[in-house]
């Protein structure tokens, strides 16, 4: 590292300041033989079923799962060299038809959550609008051989040749990865499921739809408990819907859920069986002078994530990401503008329905950096300590294998630099909604339409768990 040009984004992502610009050194790791691969090389019209709808690392970061609109789950495994390759692909959900309500049920995977490791197999929950499924992904490297009545090709043997009984023996075979459905948790949601979250007690999980949150036991499929119910007696009185719900990472009794009105509520399951009354309400007072037709729409919370430490809540609304201290309800401790330049564009974004896009947000492993998506295949990172931020682009044109990503800048009005992009030329069809950060290392996964990009911090080239040399203490 050359002297004088070094800046550490809270120990993890390494940024170098040059001429006042930030440039982030990230390498692109293209997943080989993935179903998304073809689109990385050929400029085809994308099949809507291939659009990625969720991305999630497991607890160790060794595996990464994606779900798509076609109901498929693809699991990538990290190779010793550091690259992620396809480990297993399976069809998690199929399109269905609800004959009672005359409704089509899409197969799109809304969320994936990994269970903490049980045994050598891996377990994950996947959900579409109505049904949550528990999948087991396991390896098989042995095969039984030796039949009594048939030979190895399956032909029947001559019975007169059978004089002794043969017990089959197991022989090694090529590794086979199997995904099998272990549980199906159905018929508990009248509305569309938007979140699932596994409790730290490792035996229960929640599923949330627009109006209700249900609590399930992982071993019991025919019964769930309703813990939050926002449905008013009269649907005309409906004033808000649940947008996301998540359990606290350590405290089994705490859960947070956010609503379309821009509030996030924290519930204590110890206090009551029904958590309709919240323990805390995180809401920032809106300046009445800045109130407009779009105020409520843009304040709707599209994602909530507890920090790994359990101390903070990260919320994403249309224009900002906010960090809340669980001990302070009246205002966020930090607010970051994701794309402030869209303030003046809300009208056209409303017309194109873009204003309802649900962007997710994520913490890095030490809670020092925040990442979230934006339009034009851009995604944003914010360093909480230095308050510096960077805009990066995940697109086929710029993400060559092993290339280093260059920061982007969106300008309002006149371009100051050649590489600057004007607000008017942003492509609002290209949006990065789903992102994930490796729980321990500086590896991020970005879903942009039907492409999955995995970037790695340039300082850990071989993928081993070596930390960057310069590191400041994680926030306490």
């Amino acid at each position: 590292m050359s002297s004088g040009c070094l800046f550490v984004l809270r120990g993890f992502l390494c940024l170098i300041i040059k001429d006042g610009n930030l440039s982030l050194f990230l390498r692109l790791l293209v997943p080989c033989s993935s179903p998304y691969e073809i689109y990385l090389f050929f400029n085809l019209v994308c099949d809507p079923a291939d659009v990625i709808s969720t991305v999630e690392f497991n607890q160790t970061g060794e595996f990464l799962a994606t779900g798509d609109k076609g109901g498929r789950v693809v699991i990538f495994q990290r190779e010793p060299q550091g690259e992620y390759n396809v480990y297993s692909t399976f069809q998690s959900h199929e399109p269905e038809f609800d004959y009672l309500k005359s409704l089509e049920i899409e197969e799109k995977i809304n969320k994936i959550r990994w269970l903490p490791p049980h045994n050598p197999a891996h377990f994950l929950l996947s959900t579409n609008d109505k049904t949550v499924k528990l999948w087991k992904v396991s390896e098989k490297d042995k095969r039984a051989e030796g039949y009594n009545l048939r030979d190895e090709e399956g032909r029947l043997k001559d019975l007169s040749t059978i004089t002794t009984l043969q017990v089959p023996v197991l022989r090694p075979m090529d590794l086979l990865v199997e995904a099998s459905p272990r549980r199906v948790f159905a018929n508990a949601h009248a509305y569309h499921i938007n979140s699932i979250s596994v409790n730290s007690d490792c035996e229960t999980y929640l599923s949330a739809d627009d109006l209700r949150i249900n609590l399930w036991h992982l071993n019991i499929t025919d019964r769930s408990f309703n813990i939050v119910d926002l449905k008013p007696e009269n649907m005309e009185d409906l004033s808000e819907v649940i947008t996301v719900a998540e359990f606290h990472p350590h405290h089994c009794h705490l859960l947070a859920f956010s609503s379309s009105t821009g509030t996030t509520r924290l519930c204590d399951m110890r206090a009551r069986a029904l958590c309709d009354q919240h323990a805390k309400l995180f809401e920032e007072a809106v300046d009445p002078s800045r109130r407009s037709f779009f105020s409520e729409i843009v304040s709707s919370v599209s994602d909530v994530k507890f920090s790994h430490s359990g101390r903070y809540l990260l919320t994403r609304d249309y224009l900002t990401v906010k960090v809340w201290d669980l001990n302070m309800e009246n205002k966020p401790v930090e607010t970051y503008q994701v794309h402030d330049y869209l303030q003046t564009k809300l009208c056209s974004l409303y017309e194109s329905d873009c204003i309802f896009d649900k962007f997710e947000c994520t913490w890095n492993g030490t809670d020092s950096v925040i990442m979230t998506g934006a339009y034009n295949n851009y995604f944003r990172m914010f360093d909480r300590a230095s308050l510096r931020d960077v805009t990066l682009e995940a697109s086929r044109e710029v993400c060559k294998r092993r290339a280093v990503l260059q920061p982007r800048r969106v300008c309002v009005g006149k371009k100051r630099k050649e590489t600057d992009v004007s607000v008017d030329s942003l492509d609002f069809r290209k949006k990065i909604l789903h992102t994930a950060w490796h729980p321990k290392e500086n590896i991020i996964a970005i879903a942009a339409s039907n492409n999955l990009y995995i970037f790695q911090d340039r300082l850990t080239p071989n993928g081993h768990h070596n930390m960057p040399e310069i590191q400041s203490a994680p926030p306490k």
Partner: protein, 589 residues
């Protein structure tokens, strides 16, 4: 030729062995269930050297196959050569004890516990204990949870050095990183305490219990409550106060309602374990608090225990405690906001009358019964009505009948048919307690009205109810009060009501006896054989088949036979079918 003969006997076994790996789960399951047959054919030597190693590695199968396998292996000792070789069963059961599916693991542990008894003390230390230690220090929580259930069976039979190791392993698991293992340890703590020497219970188990009871996970803490009950039962009275009570008191006031619920749920066991003195000083206030808990689930669990708790109070102070401490809380619960609390209370509150005696019941309990009989939720009223017998013994039911009647009438006409069904089921009981006069006067008309209810299940229950009433009040009463009304319905314009007549006759003929059946019922049935609705006609055939055994042979030959023969030539297929069936059953052909 000898070889060919061998084939014949080998063939079925060969099929079974091959089907162990059939694609069809059902066939694999069948094969596994006949594992003993396979083992028998292979002999003990080959079972040990070939079959068991194969089974050890087949843990990729469906849960139901693994479950069956785990169960089979528990009774496999003879098939591997007796107790001397029982340790050969450990490897497959060890791998089954680590699968992710709880039911399979539990079954494997159950089988392991079973075969542990067949190990000699030496084998236990050489083979079984090392397996338990391996499981206890396994990488995955699945194996460690299984280990928790095995300490208890080996501890009493091993040397003191091994005992010390086992205690150490158990201690380690109680502070495991994963809540799953701590839960397993917490749930086995009581069982393990039972096999430990008393000194070790005090020095080892108590600190573990205290730690688990203040675990950060609610699900671990709530399991510690049950362990606390078992431990309390093991300790001498003088140690309870210092060693267990602080923790149990803390559990009864836990921040999490689930833990408090568990305390309420285990309250009678707890009461038994700690004895009368602590009950008086500690449990009574704790119980009061649970009855007043802010969470309805906790109040429900506590309300369920009211009667048992009061019954088991020490006799000398029972009445005073109930009157001054429990009854005031009960009074509040009667007007609780939650229907489940009220209905739990209603199901036990009547039981208090036997404990408190006549005067107290009339003065204090009766007003509460009356309030509950007027409760807005049918379930509460039903629970009171269903337990009337307790009050009947103490004060007689007359005191209640003024309020009882409106409550019954309202339930009998409830818009929900399940509620109506529930009250019908209590009718025979009520009739018995209220007496025939009261019944004729007030309830008879209700019972008849149910016969023409628009829900079939109610009509069906109503016919059954009539039968039970006749059993209580006798045939003569039946002839005077209900038979005429039932038979009158045979002329109803609604064919469903006409069929109800037939169903009633089916139910009543036997209890009413031959005379009433022949004289009053049979003519009506026979007349209905010309009904224009086929459903009625074939039910006539079925009815005749049913009441045939009650009739004498002359009536059968002279009256029933011609009618059935005519029905056997009916145009309707079903009528024909049932008529022919009746003819053959009654042997009239």
């Amino acid at each position: 030729m000898a070889g060919a003969e061998g084939d014949d006997s080998l063939y079925p076994i060969a099929v079974l062995i091959d089907e162990l790996r059939n694609e069809d789960v059902q066939l694999r399951l069948n094969s596994i269930k006949k594992l003993s047959t396979i083992a028998l054919a292979l002999g003990v030597e080959r079972t040990r050297t070939e079959l068991l190693p194969f089974l050890t590695d087949t843990i990729y199968d469906e849960d139901e196959v693994l479950l069956a396998l785990a169960e089979q292996l528990g009774s496999f000792t003879v098939l591997v050569g007796g107790p001397e070789f029982v340790h050969c069963l450990l490897p497959p059961l060890e791998s089954l004890a680590t699968v992710e599916e709880t039911v399979v693991r539990d079954k494997a542990v159950e089988s392991l516990r079973k075969i542990s008894q067949e190990h000699s003390p030496v084998d236990l230390e050489v083979h079984f204990v090392p397996l338990v230690k391996r499981l206890a220090s396994g990488d995955w929580f699945t194996s460690r949870t299984s280990a928790c259930g095995l300490f208890g069976v080996c501890y009493p039979r091993v040397s003191s050095t091994v005992k010390a190791e086992i205690r150490q392993h158990f201690r380690t698991l109680c502070s495991d990183d994963t809540p799953m293992v701590r839960r397993a340890a917490s749930s086995k703590l009581g069982e393990f305490a039972k096999v430990l020497e008393l000194d070790y219970v005090k020095s080892d188990i108590i600190p573990l219990f205290t730690a688990l009871a203040s675990d950060e996970q609610d699900s671990v803490r709530l399991l510690a409550v049950e362990a606390g009950v078992s431990i309390a039962a093991l300790l001498p009275q003088e140690d309870l106060e210092d060693l267990v009570m602080p923790t149990l008191r803390q559990a009864a006031e836990d921040k999490s309602w689930r833990v408090r619920y568990m305390v309420a749920d285990k309250f009678s066991e707890l009461q038994k374990a700690v004895g009368p003195e602590i009950t008086k000083n500690d449990l009574v206030p704790a119980f009061q608090n649970l009855l007043k808990d802010c969470e309805a689930e906790v109040r429900t669990a506590a309300a369920n225990k009211v009667k048992v708790f009061c019954e088991s109070l020490p006799e000398d102070s029972r009445e005073t405690i109930i009157m001054t401490h429990i009854l005031p809380c009960v009074k509040e619960l009667v007007s609780d906001t939650n229907q489940h609390v009220k209905s739990a209370l209603a199901s036990v509150i009547m039981g208090l009358s036997t404990i408190l005696g006549k005067d107290n019941t009339v003065e204090h309990l009766l007003p509460l019964f009356l309030v509950q009989l007027k409760d807005e939720y049918p379930e509460v009223r039903l629970n009171i009505i269903s337990n009337l017998d307790c009050v009947n013994e103490v004060i007689g039911i007359r005191q209640l009948s003024q309020s009882l009647l409106p409550a019954i009438v309202e339930l009998a006409e409830d818009a929900k048919w399940r509620v109506r069904l529930a009250i019908i089921e209590y009718m025979p009981l009520l009739a018995g307690q209220l007496g025939v006069e009261f019944f004729d006067e007030k309830l008879n008309s209700l019972c008849m009205a149910w016969l023409i209810d628009h829900v079939y299940a109610i009509r069906e229950a109503a016919t059954c109810n009539l039968m039970k009433l006749v059993e209580k009040f006798g045939a003569e009463w039946a002839q005077n009060t209900i038979v005429p009304k039932v038979l009158g319905m045979a002329n109803d314009s609604n064919y469903l009501h006409r069929m109800t007549t037939l169903f009633c006759i089916n139910a009543l003929s036997e209890v009413c006896g031959q005379e009433i059946t022949t004289k009053h019922m049979l003519p009506v049935v026979l007349k209905m054989s010309t009904d224009q609705v086929a459903n009625v006609r074939f039910n006539v055939a079925r009815c005749l088949q049913k009441i045939g055994p009650v009739l004498d042979s002359s009536a059968l030959q002279a009256e029933v036979k011609p009618v059935l023969e005519k029905l056997a030539t009916d145009q309707d297929m079903d009528v024909k079918y049932f008529a022919l069936e009746a003819i053959s059953v009654l042997a009239l052909a």
